[in-house]
Symmetry: C2
Subunit: 370 residues, 2 copies
């Protein structure tokens, strides 16, 4: 009873030619803990974009039905060497209905149910997913469950990471993003102080309207003072940043150190001993991270990625996090979408140029069946 | 019975004028756990230099007997704002004879003994030191005991830090330094694999002559391949770097990632999950640290400073480390000096220009009494 349907693949050749195209794929029957899901909705997250469009010249790509072919600039292509010649699926997460299952009890229990899943090939009509990562959605729609994994588990992961560091407050550098708004709701519920950085006055209003107490605007001329004040008021010496490139992480460390230094009673050539931690969890800016190290030696900058984090933190904590997501899917963990597109529509020039821009609050949802 | 002697002070005015000069100072009698030490030898470590000369224009300074006055370039001076108007002692460590003690038993036990000490004001004829940080030197000379704290506890601290990270091998970016040679001896004794980076062919020979197995020369055109090979052979995913500025840390992460990536069985857009850690423990290069982040998300870069590390690791471990230093002072933990200078001589132009250059293997020893 093999199942055939359309699936998106992204292929990078050694010469820098990126082909993103739909193909008809016949999936084998699910085995073990696998479930076969008829996909109904899948978001385009920033973490999906790297593999979908990366640094490709999508403005000048060739677009045709169910396909585009673009060139990667030479430096980007050189940095992507590990991908050369590989045809990869795309779409971390989504939601759909389980139409077949392997013989494990976890898989069998899901047959006929609508689930949130994390197949890594969510941009498809059908896909195979791990039953252990599926969340049964009950009466929720596929749209409500499409983003139930990446953003919720990332935001909850920040809180767990901060707690493990002994932090009582968190800095987040993209407060107005879907993830940022979710983190704002979580921190309000949990009584954790949060400093949100945004880039537009309207986003200050947006977050304050949602109850956020500390929102600082990086576009304001007194941004550094705003940030320092907010860190002083909250004690946010632990921050998360998906931008990565440039000087924002450095600025955050400087503001943290200024607050720590104010509280010292005597001069130290080594700066404060207050531990300052920043985590980079994305690549919105691929340019190098610049660190002036003008904040003593009590600092740490790390990469942060959800899946290794979940592996490290252990199954019990993960299950507790998953349950919380399920219980609050349309409130705390709700995501919002600008547009719905079919698999074909997501490969058109207008769509690609728009979602590639990753504008705050303008997330796309792929609905394979329209 | 107050004691009077010469002591070096370094003062930075708001206008960028740095005055380093000897003064006659009358010390109060030691109290509690304090001991009064007649200083006989004190090294000029890189960690002392920042406060002694920093980024001052010592070439064009005014030198007179027991004094020099130099200008800090405007950017350096602006970054040193916290020091403006402060008159600071200098000299982290040294050795001398305890001539008086406070009434604590630890202090009283040291009277009449030659000790290694960590007064923070070691460039002086007499100073007050904490008895708890003193190491009785027995029959050792002051020169043998002068550097018994900073380098030995730093090198042992690297090993403890690497162990706490679960690392079995260590990368050190300045293998030929006094500290690097000490770390080489420690790792040989403890059976820990060590990758030493040096910058001169003669330093490759020097370290190999001391038994080092993995020495790579950053001046060679195939440095990156040498480094990658050494990391592959040792599994050194944990490194220590006192340079800080530039791209060396980034290069180390890249080499670690290349090795980790070779061992992966399938492509991941996120890079390897192998945790790669680098610690910056100095400021030999004040320029910004540049991170390309082209090594996935499994990386962490932290500042590392000995005193907070010792505070965090606990008294028992510190005492065990101290005992090891004492037992191996003239072997594992021996330091070597290029020149001895008096307090007056260390403030002459020739001396300042020479030790400021921080050439590998050319450490100065200050001997206040000649």
């Amino acid at each position: 009873m093999a199942t055939t349907g359309k699936q998106l693949f992204t292929t990078l050749e050694a010469d820098g030619t990126l082909t993103v195209a739909l193909e008809d794929v016949t999936l084998p029957d699910p085995t073990g803990a696998q479930v076969l899901v008829r996909m109904e909705a899948a978001p385009i997250n920033p973490s999906d974009l790297a593999i979908l469009v990366g640094g490709a010249d999508v403005e000048n790509a060739e677009y045709s039905a169910g396909k585009f072919v673009a060139k990667l600039p030479a430096p980007v292509n050189a940095a992507s060497k590990a991908r050369h010649g590989l045809k990869l699926p795309a779409g971390n997460e989504g939601a759909g209905t389980v139409i077949a299952a392997g013989d494990s009890s976890a898989a069998q229990a899901l047959v006929g149910q609508r689930v949130s899943c994390v197949p890594g090939s969510a941009y498809s009509e059908y896909c195979l997913a791990d039953a252990n990562l599926c969340l049964p959605l009950g009466d929720h729609t596929a749209e409500e469950g499409a983003s139930a994994f990446i953003n919720p588990m990332t935001a909850l992961g920040f809180v767990e990471t901060a707690k493990a560091d002994g932090a009582k407050a968190i800095l987040h550098t993209v407060g107005a993003s879907n993830l940022g708004q979710m983190l704002t709701r979580i921190c309000l519920e949990d009584g954790i102080e949060l400093v949100n950085i945004v880039r537009k006055a309207e986003h200050v209003d947006l977050l304050k309207g949602q109850g956020a107490k500390h929102v600082v605007n990086a576009s304001d001329s007194d941004f550094f003072e705003q940030l320092t004040d907010a860190i002083r008021e909250t004690g946010a010496f632990c921050g998360f940043d998906p931008i990565g490139g440039g000087t924002l992480v450095d600025t955050a460390f400087k503001a943290m150190e200024r607050v720590a230094y104010e509280q010292m009673t005597e001069y130290s050539r080594y700066g404060s001993n207050q531990m300052k931690r920043m985590y980079i969890y994305g690549r919105l800016d691929n340019s190098p991270t610049t660190l002036t190290r003008s904040y003593g030696f009590g600092w740490s900058l790390s990469g942060w990625l959800m899946f290794p984090f979940l592996q490290a933190i252990g199954r019990d904590t993960v299950m507790r996090m998953r349950q919380r997501v399920r219980d609050n899917l349309t409130t705390t963990f709700a995501s919002h979408y600008k547009t719905r597109v079919t698999l074909e529509q997501m490969l058109t020039r207008d769509a690609v140029l728009d979602y590639r821009a990753m504008k705050t609050g303008e997330k796309y949802l792929v609905t394979p069946w329209g």
